[in-house]
């Protein structure tokens, strides 16, 4: 069993196995389910992710009516072809927005690790699947890679905005996605861990101060930020860039920052964006 990133990477390197293998083996051991059951359950999660990634591209409106339709705009912009960067990156952005718009419409999503951050990991994995021409079965295995890092973060820090701010949600999701991206691209377990830490460091200190307490503003676009950040971190790690602060120390830092964060900035809508003039207006209107 692995308790931290160091142990996770060590086990994968020592046994010359992929990170997703280590996660599957642990799941089988801890939950006493068969390998087939575990993999087929993940295949279901993957299918829900895939459906929600494209559903929002058609245009959905949130339960509150505050947001929606932005994934559709992004999709049209990419198809138009006149883009500044790269279509893989922008596809990830459009999927991330799509999934979180579907979430805000009370549609069906797979939390990863939470609902508010559910767009990040699928967006990265699905955009890279297109880019690398990987089949569904192999792509889906990398959700275990992401899950392994999420498991460590959740048990050593937190993954809810109410406990640790947005850094615990989008930050964790971005870190998980970065690691999965590296393994999908053929990087080593060590590189995946560096990508995880590089991504998480960039998200430290992010507060959870959504308008009217809804998982909409700024959450939906922050999923796009988390996905882009994950791809950037993965590219850096694949280039050989390493984190100066060791992997598990970065997770501890996230934990300490969350503990120090005032409760007004932890999913209570009592500060930050939530109490701007616009924030107050929406709260008045919706609650």
């Amino acid at each position: 069993m692995f308790k931290n990133v160091q142990e996770l990477v060590q086990q994968a390197e020592d046994q010359n196995k992929k990170l997703y293998e280590i996660m599957i083996e642990q799941e089988v051991e801890l939950t006493e389910k068969s390998r087939e059951e575990v993999i087929s359950r993940m295949a279901k999660q993957y299918q829900v992710m895939k459906n929600s990634a494209v559903k929002g591209l058609e245009g959905v409106t949130s339960y509150s009516g505050m947001t929606g339709g932005d994934a559709k705009k992004m999709d049209a912009y990419i198809k138009n072809g006149d883009i500044l960067t790269d279509s893989t990156l922008l596809k990830a952005v459009s999927y991330a927005i799509s999934i979180n718009e579907v979430n805000a419409s009370m549609g069906l999503i797979c939390a990863s690790p939470t609902a508010g951050s559910s767009g990040v990991l699928p967006a990265v994995v699905l955009a890279l699947q297109d880019k690398l021409g990987m089949d569904d079965e192999m792509t889906m295995m990398h959700l275990f890679t992401a899950g392994a890092f999420g498991f460590v973060i959740a048990n050593n820090a937190f993954i809810s905005g109410a406990a640790g701010g947005c850094q615990a949600e989008i930050g964790s999701a971005s870190a998980m996605a970065a690691a999965a991206a590296v393994e999908m691209a053929g990087g080593t377990p060590t590189q995946a861990a560096h990508a995880m830490a590089l991504a998480l460091k960039n998200m430290l200190g992010l507060t959870c101060d959504p308008l009217a307490g809804l998982v909409e503003v700024p959450c939906i676009k922050r999923n796009a930020a988390g996905a882009s950040n994950a791809i950037m971190a993965a590219e850096m790690a694949l280039a050989g860039i390493e984190t100066k602060v060791p992997w598990d120390e970065v997770i501890s830092a996230m934990y300490n920052i969350g503990l120090a964060m005032p409760v007004t900035l932890r999913e209570t809508s009592l500060a930050g964006l939530a109490v701007t003039e616009t924030g107050k207006m929406w709260k008045e209107k919706l609650l």
Partner: protein
Amino acid sequence: MKYRSVFDIIGPVMVGPSSSHTAGPVRIGQIARRLFDAQPEKIVVRLYGSFAETYKGHASDVAVVGGILNYETDDPRIPDSLFKAKELGIDVSFVKEDAVPEHPNTMEITLSRGDDNIDIAAISIGGGVVRITKLNGFPLKLSGENPAILIFHKDAYGAIAGVASTLAANKINISGMDVSRIEKGDIALMTIETDQPVSDNLINAITKKENILRVITLSE
């Protein structure tokens, strides 16, 4: 370890918008219903901390009632659960509490039907994972993921040993056990999580034992 499975992280599959404030309350509602083991006539939900500030926007209200109606986290009927409850003649009320809770996502639920009622307190710790922290005022730690038996008993010699030996004789393995009491020598609550489900016959046998006051089961 707060999280044991990779599907606590990659999951649950759920109706949005929040795992801690929507899926979590669905699961809390489900456990409350399973502990009460009947459709309530009255539901009172008291909300604390982040739940109190944001429950409407996160649809925590329809979620917890959906759970009490036995809906799963991915049930598309969740948004309409309050209408359904009304249709079933269930009286539902929500109370926003000002007290600062130990955990930011805390709620208390009272379910009643005639003279029968149950009080639980629960927290939603993130990613849809929840813990029941109190039952009728007695502190406990219950994940709702394993079968469990909750036994109110007189705080007397032999009460615990009697239950444990009955379980052992029936080849039921105990995976977790906890005893709590409010005052010494008064009433205590024994919480036993088991690897195997416990049959009704066995529950009846335990209920008849000396010093046992009330037995509540939580099946899988």
